[in-house]
């Protein structure tokens, strides 16, 4: 029996390392330690061994079993390792570029708009939208622009033919014409007519001027406009908002100042200058960045608000101009050409 055990172990030592697949392994394992395996058969012969030899023989059998188990485990491990190695394939070259598409990018005008909206949201402003095709009432009349004001001239504003019908923009009077809005201030009127004060909104959007395209002018561009209506709103509140916006956007070194100006729908009215010498390509002490003022009582009367109760301010600026200032871009047309070498610089 001892000889049989040794022969069996020798056979296993020779056979098991050569196994390559899990199936072969399972078959081999069955042949040795399965219910009808050779080793199992030997174990069954233990009963025939004389009583006095049993302890020594039992020790031998146990040792043989341990050896066999170790060999089987090793064989299985080898097969599992080989399987994993086969799954992995050859080693990679980490320096090869990924063939997948690179990251997407957000347009700089969107970045600036969203950043402004984020800053304004912290100050309680929510975003409102209005149509780009407007009527004369919302774009001009309600903002106290007289009928023969030069800004309304067909030389400066895009109009639609009198036959034009826009299904989701209603005219106030049948005689007024449809036009492409020249400023986002039209949304002020829509917001005030729709809601009740207090109001704190920002309206970003696309506007149109009939203008020659060059490095600083574009047939359409974008504006962002803030409107705040409440009790006891002051000039100082307006200044506080502007200081907050531009310090948040351009850094704490940014200073703003007011210059008196004239807009038909605010009184008093100001132009806003920025001092931000830390920005690229800024070589002037003060840069004009937008217009603002206290909402004119006549505008409130037009939308049915009592100007003795309600007061407010409005502020508007060009987004292209702001983006050009922030990033040091010197030609407005780059925003509309969409060269990826341009777009990829801002995301």
């Amino acid at each position: 029996m001892q000889a049989t055990l040794s022969a069996l172990l020798a056979k296993a030592t020779a056979e098991l390392p050569a196994l390559r697949t899990r199936a072969d392994f399972e078959a081999a394992k069955a042949r040795y330690v399965g219910p009808h395996g050779e080793f199992t058969a030997l174990m069954k012969q233990m009963g025939t061994v004389p009583k006095e030899q049993r302890p020594a023989m039992g020790k031998l059998v146990n040792e043989a079993k341990a050896q066999l188990t170790t060999q089987l485990d090793a064989a299985l491990q080898r097969i599992a390792d080989a399987e994993i190695a086969a799954q992995l394939g050859p080693a990679i070259d980490p320096t090869l570029p990924s063939p997948d598409t690179g990251p997407g990018t957000t347009h700089p005008l969107t970045l600036v708009r969203e950043e402004m909206c984020r800053i304004l949201r912290k100050a309680g402003f929510t975003v409102v939208e209005g149509p780009e095709v407007e009527t004369e009432y919302y774009c001009f009349d309600a903002l106290c622009t007289p009928a023969d004001h030069p800004a309304r001239d067909a030389q400066d504003t895009f109009y639609f033919p009198e036959s034009a019908r826009f299904g989701n923009v209603a005219k106030k009077t049948p005689a007024e014409k449809y036009l492409l809005r020249t400023h986002t201030s039209s949304v002020q009127i829509r917001t005030m007519l729709k809601g009740e004060p207090p109001i704190r909104v920002v309206s970003p959007g696309r506007v149109y001027r009939r203008d020659t395209s060059d490095a600083t002018h574009s047939a359409n561009f974008h504006q962002l406009e803030c409107l705040y209506v409440d009790r006891n709103v002051t000039v100082r509140d307006l200044k506080a908002l502007l200081d907050y916006i531009f310090a948040s956007l351009l850094g704490k070194d940014t200073v703003t100042r007011f210059r008196p100006h004239y807009f038909g729908y605010t009184e008093p009215s100001f132009e806003v200058d920025l001092s931000a010498k830390h920005l690229p390509k800024v070589n002037k002490d003060w840069i004009e960045i937008g217009g603002c003022g206290m909402v004119d009582p006549a505008v409130f009367e037009g939308v049915g608000y009592d100007p003795n109760v309600w007061s407010g301010y409005a502020f508007g600026m060009g987004l292209e101009r702001l983006a050009m200032l922030m990033y040091g871009i010197d030609d407005i047309r780059y925003f509309y050409q969409n060269d990826l070498r341009f777009l990829k610089q801002f995301a």
Binding site: F158, N220, K239
Partner: protein, 820 residues
């Protein structure tokens, strides 16, 4: 408008530097567009010298002279100076820069050897001294200029000209006196009005034969007309001081009469006109509407066709002047003029503006009338002009000051409390500061009262400040003089407004942008206005007509865009043509779509995915296909609150604007309030646009009111914790049947077969097969069916029973069969 510092100085003391003045004008509310210095800047060590001798230096290519120049004993007497100017002749007096002088260019004068001779200074040409003029020779000074006198004393003062933008609310500032009034308030000096000697004619003065009557036929367009006759004038050049002032602000002196008219306009803001009396037929002036087709040749030599909305100044026979705009070629003063009629009038701004636009004709006079001329200053301006005419051209006033209209008195007061001003400003300004500001601006406080609201002022508004009408207008006046740059800052604060979220459009655009950027798309921004040719690819000619502007600026930007794809393709092409690989682009924005004969402004998102086979990579990735863009559109639709899976999809067949037949699909129509198109862009169109490769694209457009971003509340639905039982089933159907239709049918049969005891959870297509083994015109669709119960683990028997029922139902149905 150009303002001369020397001119302004006639009315207000100006000790301020140019920088201080520029700042003052700016903070008074008038943008300074440019500042130009004329005349001599302050120069030291530059004096008057006389050239005593001139000797040509021999053997030089250039004509160079050695001169002796007397600069006076105080500056070293006679000096030896080398000079290359052609006009350095003996006997001439010229400016001499002595060693130590620094010229405006920065050039430092020193004694140095030049052309072999010691030169003890430099004689100067005008440009070297910072004066306008060419570098063609020395500046020649009058023979009376004292030798040795500093040059700034020998030459008249320079001037500084500010080119200023005056906002339309301030016509009163379109003249030197008006701006001086503003500066006086800022600088806190008194305003000095020009002295006017002529004070009109005694009552009852009989009409002169030069002008027998003035008749205004259109008083609504001409509220005031003043005519004064002057006999015996002598036409000639105006005096030097007047010419200098006119030249400084860019006006060419003509003759004394014309110049006086311009001078008074630029001084007081009242445009004037001077007629040659003998050219007025019938000796009467008629202010009337032109007749349609009437013609007049204006001063600029052009014939103007007039109509009945235009106002003219005429005699009994013919129009002489287009009122307020420009005189006629034949009615003006000329060298032979001896008797004149001076016109000072007021015209309705709208009338002048309309005529000016209509004729494409502008003038300094029209510019002022369009903005509004103060009728209450018209007579005074006429008197001022008479003074200057008598002074510069002689003659005598004959007949009375004839006047038509202008009898409406002016009176306006605004009652305001200093507390109101402080409440609007939000910071403290003392009563005294406010009072000083108002008085400084010539807005006198006529009365002060104590009221319940505190001190109240009654402020008198002069006729030239019609823009001041309400208390808020005076807040601006006080703030202007206080200084808008002194508005203090504060912490940005305000009561929280709890209601309101960002507009759904903004939220949708943000979600779409975030998604597509996350999917490696680049956001582009294109113009809304496109060309008619471009539109023809996407909409019918009739629909394009609805999108046309009435007054496009350029031909290729004449129509509203009906889709974002045309702009995105343009961006794709630009990048390809510049050799920049661009595969994924998108845009959000408004598009304009036709619905029932109207145009609807829609919110839209569009994207393209380009596969360019010419682009190489070391490892190739699968090409995008229809199902790639379908997934993107589904997700974008979900951001808009639309479930595309629940919508019927229509494959694009036949000519379908821009999209490739058999490779594209459409869902939704504008009548539903939204529309989606996606698939392959028409290959021929893409080729014609000069773009390489296949372009897959998707668009979604919807009416703003259709957007329901984050509107509904989500409710949790419980789900089964028991395992699913899976069965596969392949069905043979007609090849042109849509997979989703078959799936829906199968789902219905499965629901019927499972009954109430357990549920069919999912039916999904996982394989599509056509070809060998199938009859012609058929395809096989393989579905995975998943059964599950909420209460227990299903047994094989019950699932098999249900599966069998499904197959029986399919056999009965007949439109499809189980594949063997």
């Amino acid at each position: 408008m150009k303002l001369s510092r020397n001119w302004l100085r006639q009315y207000v003391r100006l000790y301020a530097t140019t920088e201080e003045l520029q700042r003052a004008i700016t903070f008074l509310g008038f943008e300074v567009e440019s500042v130009t210095n004329t005349g001599l800047p302050p120069l030291s060590n530059v004096v008057v010298g006389e050239i005593l001798t001139r000797t040509k230096i021999p053997n030089l290519k250039k004509d160079i002279s050695l001169c002796t120049v007397d600069v006076g004993p105080a500056h070293g007497g006679v000096r030896s100076i080398v000079c290359g100017a052609p006009n350095c002749d003996a006997g001439r007096r010229v400016p001499v820069a002595l060693p130590g002088a620094v010229l405006p260019s920065g050039f430092q004068i020193a004694q140095r050897k030049t052309y072999g001779h010691e030169s003890q200074g430099m004689m100067c040409a005008p440009d070297e001294l910072g004066l306008p003029g060419e570098h063609s020779g020395l500046l020649l000074l009058p023979a009376t200029a004292p030798i040795g006198q500093p040059i700034n004393e020998a030459l008249p003062d320079g001037d500084t000209v500010f080119d200023v933008e005056v906002t339309p609310n301030r016509p009163d500032a379109l003249c030197h006196l008006g701006m001086a009034r503003e500066l006086a308030a800022w600088l806190k000096y008194d305003l000095q009005h020009p002295e006017i000697k002529f004070q009109g004619t005694p009552k009852g003065t009989p009409p002169s034969p030069l002008l027998t009557s003035i008749r205004v036929d259109a008083p609504e367009d001409c509220p005031l007309y003043v005519g004064i006759a002057v006999a015996g004038v002598k036409v000639g050049p105006s005096p030097v001081w007047m010419q200098e002032r006119l030249l400084a602000v860019g006006l060419r002196p003509i003759n004394n009469l014309v110049d006086v008219g311009n001078y008074v306009m630029l001084e007081l803001g009242q445009p004037l006109h001077v007629f040659d009396a003998k050219k007025i037929a019938g000796r009467q002036i008629v202010v009337r509407r032109a007749t349609d087709g009437e013609k007049l040749v204006t001063l600029d030599g052009k014939e103007r066709a007039l109509n009945s909305r235009m106002l003219v100044i005429a005699d009994e026979a013919k129009p002489l002047v287009i009122a307020g705009l420009m005189g006629g070629h034949d009615a003006g003063v000329d060298a032979t003029t001896t008797d004149i009629i001076l016109e000072a009038a007021c015209f309705r701004p709208q009338s002048i503006r309309w005529t000016s636009r209509r004729l494409g004709l502008t003038s300094d006079s029209a510019y002022r009338f369009e903005r509004g001329v103060d009728a209450h200053g018209t007579v005074a301006a006429a008197h001022r002009a008479i003074d200057l005419i008598l002074e510069t051209a002689g003659g005598t006033v004959v007949g009375p000051v004839m006047k038509a209209g202008g009898d409406r008195p002016w009176s306006r007061e605004i009652r305001i409390t200093p507390n109101y001003i402080r409440a609007k400003l939000g910071f403290d300004v003392t009563d005294d500061e406010m009072r000083d500001a108002l008085i400084g601006l010539a807005l006198p406080i006529k009365a002060e009262h104590e009221t319940a609201a505190g001190l109240e002022w009654t402020v008198a508004i002069p006729s030239h400040r019609r823009d001041l009408d309400r208390p808020i207008d005076l807040v601006e006046e006080v703030l202007r003089i206080y200084g808008t740059d002194r508005v203090p800052s504060a912490i940005c604060s305000g009561p929280a407004l709890a209601d309101g979220d960002d507009d759904p459009i903004a939220r949708f655009n943000r979600q779409a942008t975030d998604y597509l950027v996350g999917q490696h798309f680049h956001e582009v921004v294109n113009y809304t206005l496109r060309s008619q040719t471009e539109l023809a690819t996407w909409v019918s000619a009739a629909a394009a007509g609805e999108l046309a502007l009435a007054n496009p600026f350029v031909d290729d930007q004449s129509h509203l865009r009906p889709t974002l794809i045309m702009g995105i393709l343009e961006s794709l092409k630009l990048n390809q043509s510049r050799g920049i690989p661009a595969a994924r682009l998108f845009e959000t924005g408004r598009v304009f779509m036709e619905l029932n004969g109207t145009v609807q402004e829609c919110v839209a998102v569009g994207f393209v995915l380009c596969h360019n086979p010419k682009e190489r990579a070391w490892r190739t990735r699968p090409e995008p296909d229809f199902y790639t863009v379908k997934r993107h559109v589904e997700i974008l639709a979900r951001a808009a609150g639309l479930d595309l899976a629940a919508q019927p999809l229509v494959p694009v067949r036949g000519a379908y604007w821009g999209w490739q037949e058999g490779q594209s699909a459409a869902a939704g129509e504008m009548s539903d309030g939204w529309t989606a198109r996606f698939g392959l862009l028409n290959l021929a169109m893409v080729r014609a646009a000069g773009i390489e490769g296949k372009v897959w694209a998707g668009t979604l457009a919807l009416l703003p009111q259709k957007l329901t971003v984050g509107g509904s509340h989500t409710r949790y639905r419980p789900f089964s914790l028991f395992p699913a039982a899976l069965r596969d089933l392949a069905l043979v159907v007609d090849a042109d049947r849509h997979a989703d239709e078959v799936r829906a049918q199968l789902l219905q049969l499965a629901q019927a077969a499972t009954g109430p005891s357990f549920a069919i959870e999912r039916v999904e297509v996982f394989d599509v097969y056509t070809g060998a083994g199938l009859p012609a015109g058929k395809k096989s669709l393989a579905f995975a069916l998943s059964f599950r119960s909420a209460e227990r683990t299903l047994t094989d028997d019950e699932v098999n029973a249900a599966f069998g029922k499904i197959q029986q139902a399919i056999a009965v149905d007949g439109t499809m069969s189980v594949r063997a």
